[in-house]
């Protein structure tokens, strides 16, 4: 069976629906407290997917995801290494890492995304939304058709909720923006319902550069995004499910967010040569 580890604790709060998503996609999912890994030495290497869920680790103090990223980067595990060292091994062993919202913020601050040169240095950041407030609203996202990450296979335009106060992806300079574009690491963008660029509020809900909603690393094994696909596991999560169902009575009851989890679980199962 494909196995996912979903880390939690310290204010992370989307672990349950995330674990549910992996389970619906056919994987086994363990919800594990960060300190089980950091202090008790619970190993991430027993898993195929390492997941950083959404929430408010340390209340977004200092910046969203920053205190948690510091822990991962600096705190010594019982074996004397840091969790970041373990994650680097995890990735070079061919495993997969995903972060959503607060988890994405951690991955970016840790340098796991976009990680253009695989040096694991911070190359972008998540700044306060241009609106200067936290907002929960549904947006459309479009998959970059140049991107090869397995997480987004066979996906194009889909609706999904954003729920954050610090989601504005900033690369800081043109060079970095260009590299990200060239390598198609900006794998997911905010868009209009028809897929055309969002470019303005509230379609781009936070002012992110390149309308960027999600990033992957050059290996495609690490993927993160600000929106919450794990909050769209069921059709009935969609704010317009009433009209959608009326228009198309045979519409699937599965939410479009689940596809991302299905993609990665299926991909790993295929690599391992096992059934989902």
């Amino acid at each position: 069976m494909v196995k996912a580890i979903v880390l939690t604790g310290f204010g992370i709060n989307c672990e349950e629906e995330t674990a549910a998503a992996y389970r619906m996609a056919g994987a086994a999912a363990d919800i594990v407290h960060f300190n089980d890994v950091l202090i008790k030495g619970h190993s991430i290497h027993n898993y195929d997917i390492l997941h950083f869920p959404g929430g408010f680790s340390f209340g977004d103090d200092l910046s969203s995801g920053k205190v948690m990223a510091n822990k991962i980067r600096y705190k010594k595990l019982p074996n004397g290494r840091t969790l970041l060292d373990e994650i680097k091994d995890f990735i070079s062993n061919g495993h997969y890492v995903m972060g959503i919202c607060n988890g994405f913020q951690m991955l970016v601050r840790l340098g796991l995304l976009p990680n253009t040169n695989l040096y694991y240095e911070q190359q972008a950041t998540l700044a306060h939304n241009d609106s200067a407030k936290y907002e929960d609203r549904w947006v459309y996202c479009k998959v970059n058709n140049m991107s090869e990450t397995p997480f987004l296979k066979d996906m194009d335009i889909f609706p999904v909720p954003v729920r954050h106060g610090e989601g504005k992806l900033v690369f800081g300079n043109d060079t970095m923006r260009q590299i990200v574009k060239t390598k198609a690491l900006n794998c997911l963008s905010y868009c209009m319902a028809d897929g055309s660029p969002a470019s303005e509020y509230p379609f781009n809900p936070n002012g992110a550069e390149l309308d960027c909603a999600g990033l992957c690393d050059p290996t495609g094994q690490v993927f993160g995004l600000m929106p919450h696909p794990e909050a769209f596991l069921s059709l009935y999560n969609h704010p317009n499910w009433g009209q959608l169902k009326r228009k198309n009575p045979s519409i699937s009851e599965e939410g479009m967010g689940l596809k991302i989890f299905r993609n990665i679980v299926t991909h790993i199962a295929e690599l391992k040569g096992i059934e989902v």
Binding site: F10, E17, H33, G55, R137, F171, H228, P239, R246
Partner: protein
């Protein structure tokens, strides 16, 4: 001397927070600040070398992409004219400082005690324009902080050096240990002196209660006991405080348990009510419970006897529901008041039964003065806009950071809430039936069980919250009553509780809220019959608290756990891993006494029986006479388009989207009907709907009914109407009334929440107290009348009795307000009905009858009238209609449904139309009766819906409703709403214009 790290944005990085401050200063205060630049300062009191400090700043504080940082140097941006630094006052929660300290510990791999604060954070704001001192202070006080919790340093640019020299303040608490215990002499005090003592010590006990305490200490049996133990014959300060907390209105509900002599002159009848709680509230549930039982419905599990009401939800889940108020703190510090309100209310389901319920959702209902309030503010009164912004920010932080979705709510504007706002917080949760074979909802405690405090430490914050909320706010309200919550501290406690309960480690738990340990342990101790508490074992935030202060402090984020000896080791280990502090502070006994010690010295020794039963019953007086009101003469009007547009934008109808979107309403992934739905998320809904889990489509509908203005005409009808409003909202989304079939499992769980002005008659201070109390009785009579008719039980509730703001010789009192917060089981959330139209061509019906009932309506309010004909609930007709709606929904015949409430039919149609991005053609001719156009369009008669039906279902639908189905029109694909009568258009307007007006009412 502190080291400092200042962090600020690099040149060219957008400062959206600064932009927002600039906008708000202009918009709310008319002050042009010019550009605003924000920065943060960390004061570090930990031995680090300059190089270590640099590394820490680089590695942990600044963001590599957007920030610059200076170590031990201060940044002044060029061309800025003045600045303010906003720090916390000593002892106020500084989560950001604590988190920075956590980062420091991780960075250097130090084992740093997080309970000693080494890093303090503060914000700095630079303003481009040279503001006057008054302007700068005004902006600071209104937008940036609150002098009750913040310290402000102001500075202006020095023309020569071009520097702004701020004096940075560090809020270190400097107190020395003080374990003094005083004895308070009561024996020879006169009545006046007793009352004076109660007031100066903020005990909020009246003369009879003070006398009862004094007399208790004269009881020979008590004197002998005290003599034996070497205690003096007078109460200690701690004992007196325990009586004050336990007997507070907040904890004891003395007025709801008072004897009320009611002289109803309107009916020429006099009666005596022995406890309105027992008569009307518990009385309702007792009667309903009997009726449920007769019909084989056994879902009521626990009512009124725990922190929250408990009902059976599914074959393996219990549903826990509690709504609380947090009004007084929110008046003083809106942000802190609301955040502690929501977090405190979360702890109620969390501490119900054994404890460890999973929280499913939050609701909030808020009552404010107008955000554009223009009367002069009284001493200590905050502007309603400031209160609103602060409360909303507090709910945002409290709810979002706890990971609990806010799925339903309401905001009511009325200037009588400008002194004390009302902040109602509700939380629903899920318990399994059992934890390791033990019934989850029960609270067993045996002598010998350990008392464990879990979570935050104890400080001076929140001392006297329970007693303070039981009196009016005036200029002398204690500052220590204000607390700031720490959602992350509580989240850790919550996560811990859930796991500890699942592992069977917790025997019982309760939350520490009002009255602190005094209330939580005092109440739990009634189960085994006593307790010993060692106050020296209670961990403190800082030294300097006297024993009594430790016992009554309301410091937040704490639970009291009851743990059996054999589980101590395991639970302490789990807590350590999850970074939750536990302290073993005592044991339960069966001695019959509450035995409180500090370093083995007794600081209080109180007979449990007297503590809980000794409070004298209050006697109160109510009086009512008929009030004659008249209907206004209306100007003849034939075109109501403009009126409707104005109504859409009016304060009590307009969109709350700006606020709703700041709350996370879908974390946990179980929200099915959110506050705003439809193709563009603009359709307001009647009730929230959640599913219970990913393994089931069973769920719960959540609604709130509140109609304070109706009480200006008739308090009975206000109460009945608010109850009906909440019921019909649940019926509207597809809910079913309870007890209509044997064993159907359709639970209803209702919390009643009373917020009334001081209703104790006093010739000088409260001359209309008897009339206010009469209204309270009428509210309760209506509640009993309608709830027992519908078989809907109350499972928990709250009464807040002193909602008055007094200052400068003036008093602002809230109108008597009742909120009914309802939850009801849905068998299949996929069958819920939302309010927006679904398809062009669908038929539109009005269900339920309109009467000439414009009294206290939004329409009259718009014209400046009150009127006399307040909407009346006709419960028989209402129930008959709801049963038909249920039948129609069972057959899948209803496509959309919106209940008719504020603004009547016209507003409901407008919302269903723009919410769907569709239009409608309406003819009112088919509606029976001889009503005026105004009444047909805007009357707020209860128990009505605007619903839509597919044309092909017309016959089946009408067969169910017969004459009660009034076909009034059709959904159009067009973009206009047309309402006509006798061939004449009463309303003809673009749907987009209606939505724009609706969206614009509160958009700032």
């Amino acid at each position: 001397m502190y080291n400092t790290i200042q962090r600020f944005f690099k040149e060219g990085i957008r400062d959206s927070k600064g932009e927002s401050i600039r906008y708000n200063a202009q918009q709310q205060l008319g002050i042009n600040t010019g550009k605003v630049k924000t920065a943060q300062l960390f004061s570090v009191n930990y031995p680090l070398t300059e190089e270590q400090l640099q590394d820490f700043s680089e590695g942990c504080i600044k963001d590599k992409i957007t920030d610059d940082a200076l170590v031990n140097a201060y940044f002044t941006p060029a061309k800025y004219a003045c600045a303010v630094a906003v720090a916390q006052l000593p002892g106020v929660t500084d989560d950001e400082g604590i988190s920075a300290q956590m980062a420091l510990a991780d960075f250097f791999n130090l084992d740093l005690d997080v309970n000693t604060q080494h890093i303090f954070s503060q914000y700095i704001y630079f303003f481009e324009n040279k503001l006057t001192e008054e302007q700068l202070k005004n902006v600071t006080k209104r937008i940036l902080g609150n002098p009750l919790i913040n310290h402000f340093s102001f500075a202006w640019v020095d023309e020569e050096s071009e520097k702004i020299d701020l004096r940075y303040y560090v809020p270190e608490v400097k107190l020395t240990i003080d374990n003094t215990v005083e004895y308070i002499q009561l024996e020879n005090l006169t009545d006046e002196e007793l009352v004076h003592l109660s007031k100066t010590k903020v005990l909020a006990l009246n003369l009879e209660e003070m006398q009862a305490v004094r007399n208790h200490y004269l009881d020979p049996e008590i004197r002998e006991k005290r003599h034996e133990l070497g205690l003096q014959m007078q109460p200690t300060d701690c004992e007196l405080e325990v009586f004050a907390q336990t007997w507070s209105e907040h904890c004891k509900h003395k007025e709801f348990n008072a004897i009320i002599h009611f002289d109803d002159k309107s009916k020429g009848e006099k009666k005596t009510i022995r406890s309105i709680f027992k008569t009307y509230i518990k009385g309702t549930t007792d009667k309903v419970a009997e009726s449920l039982k007769e019909n084989g419905n056994d879902w009521l599990v626990k009512v009124f006897s725990d922190n929250a009401g408990v009902v059976k939800a599914t074959h393996d889940k219990l549903f826990v529901w509690k709504v609380e108020t947090h009004n007084s703190p929110s008046a003083l510090d809106p942000y802190g008041g609301a955040i502690t309100g929501i977090l405190g209310n979360n702890r109620d389901p969390l501490g119900t039964g054994i404890g460890g319920a999973k929280l499913l959702f939050n609701t909030n209902v808020l009552c404010f003065g107008s955000p554009t309030y223009s009367k002069p503010l009284l001493t200590g009164q905050l502007h309603p806009r400031q209160i609103m912004d602060g409360v909303v920010a507090g709910i945002e932080a409290g709810g979002n950071k706890s990971g609990v979705p806010t799925v339903n709510g309401a905001i009511v504007f009325d200037d009588r809430y400008s002194g004390k706002p009302l902040v109602y917080c509700g939380t629903g949760g899920i318990l399994p039936y059992d934890f390791k074979g033990k019934n989850s909802w029960e609270k067993p405690i045996d002598a010998g069980d350990h008392i464990i405090m879990a979570g935050g430490r104890v400080g001076k914050d929140g001392i006297h919250g329970a007693t303070f909320s039981s009196i009016e706010i005036d200029e002398h309200s204690p500052m220590s009553a204000v607390q700031i919550g720490s959602p992350i501290t509580q989240k850790k406690v919550y996560d811990f509780m859930v796991i500890a309960a699942q592992r069977g480690l917790i025997k019982t738990s309760t939350d520490n809220g009002a009255g602190g340990l005094s209330s939580s342990i005092g109440e739990l101790a009634t189960i085994p019959g006593g307790a010993i508490i060692n106050l020296d074992k209670v961990p403190l935030k800082y030294a300097g608290l006297r024993p009594w202060e430790i016992f009554v402090s309301e410091s937040q984020e704490r639970m009291s756990l009851v743990i059996e000896e054999q589980n101590l080791e395991e639970i302490f280990e789990l807590a350590k891993l999850m970074e939750v502090e536990l302290s073993d502070i005592g044991v339960f006994t069966d001695s019959g006494f509450l035995d409180i010690r500090y370093d083995d010295e007794k600081v209080a020794y109180i007979q449990m029986h007297f503590l809980h039963e000794g409070v004298p019953q209050k006697i109160m007086y109510a009086e009512w006479d008929t009030v004659v009101l008249n209907e206004p003469e209306l100007k003849a009007q034939t075109d109501f388009s403009e009126t409707l547009l104005k109504l859409m934008g009016s304060l009590n109808i307009c969109s709350r989207e700006h606020i709703i979107r700041q709350y996370d309403h879908e974390v946990k992934g179980k929200t099915i009907v959110k506050p705003l739905m439809g193709p563009h998320g603009k359709a307001p809904q009647d009730a929230g709907v959640m599913r219970f889990g990913f393994d089931t489509y069973e769920g719960v509908a959540i609604s709130n009914g509140i109609l304070p203005r109706y009480g200006d005409i008739d308090a009975f009808e206000m109460s009945a109407g608010a109850f009906d409003e909440a019921v019909r909202q649940i019926i509207s989304v597809g809910g079913r009334l309870p007890n209509t079939e044997s064993g159907d499992g359709i639970f209803w769980s209702v919390n009643d929440n009373f917020c009334v002005p001081d209703s104790v008659f006093d010739e000088v201070g409260n001359p209309d107290g008897k009339q206010k109390l009469a209204k309270l009785v009428q509210i309760c009579e209506a509640l009993y009348d309608i709830a027992t008719y519908f078989d809907i039980p109350l499972t928990s509730g709250k009464d807040s009795m002193k909602n008055d703001f007094k200052a400068d010789g003036k008093k602002i009192s809230v109108p008597p307000t009742i909120l009914y917060s309802m939850t009801a089981k849905l068998d299949d959330v996929r069958k819920t009905i939302t309010s927006e139209f679904k398809a062009e061509g669908d038929l539109i019906y009005q269900l339920g009858e309109t009467y000439n009932e414009l009294g206290a309506s939004e329409f009259y309010q718009l014209l400046g009238h009150l009127g006399a004909n307040v909407p009346k609930v006709r419960k028989e007709a209402a129930k008959a209609l709801y049963l038909k709606v249920m039948e129609a929904n069972k057959n899948g015949l209803i496509e959309s449904s919106h209940d008719l409430s504020d603004g009547g039919l016209a507003v409901a149609l407008a919302e269903s139309a723009f919410g769907a991005q569709m239009g409608a053609n309406i003819q009112l001719d088919s509606l029976p009766g001889e009503l005026s156009n105004e009444a047909l369009l805007f009357s707020e008669s209860h128990s009505r819906f605007a619903i839509t039906v597919r044309p092909e279902n017309k016959v089946a639908f009408e067969a169910i409703f017969g004459e009660r189905a009034n076909l009034i029109g059709q959904v159009t694909g067009g973009n206009s709403l047309t309402i006509s009568r006798n061939g004449q258009n009463l309303v003809q307007t673009k749907v987009e214009a209606l939505q724009k007006a609706w969206s614009g009412g509160l958009s700032f």
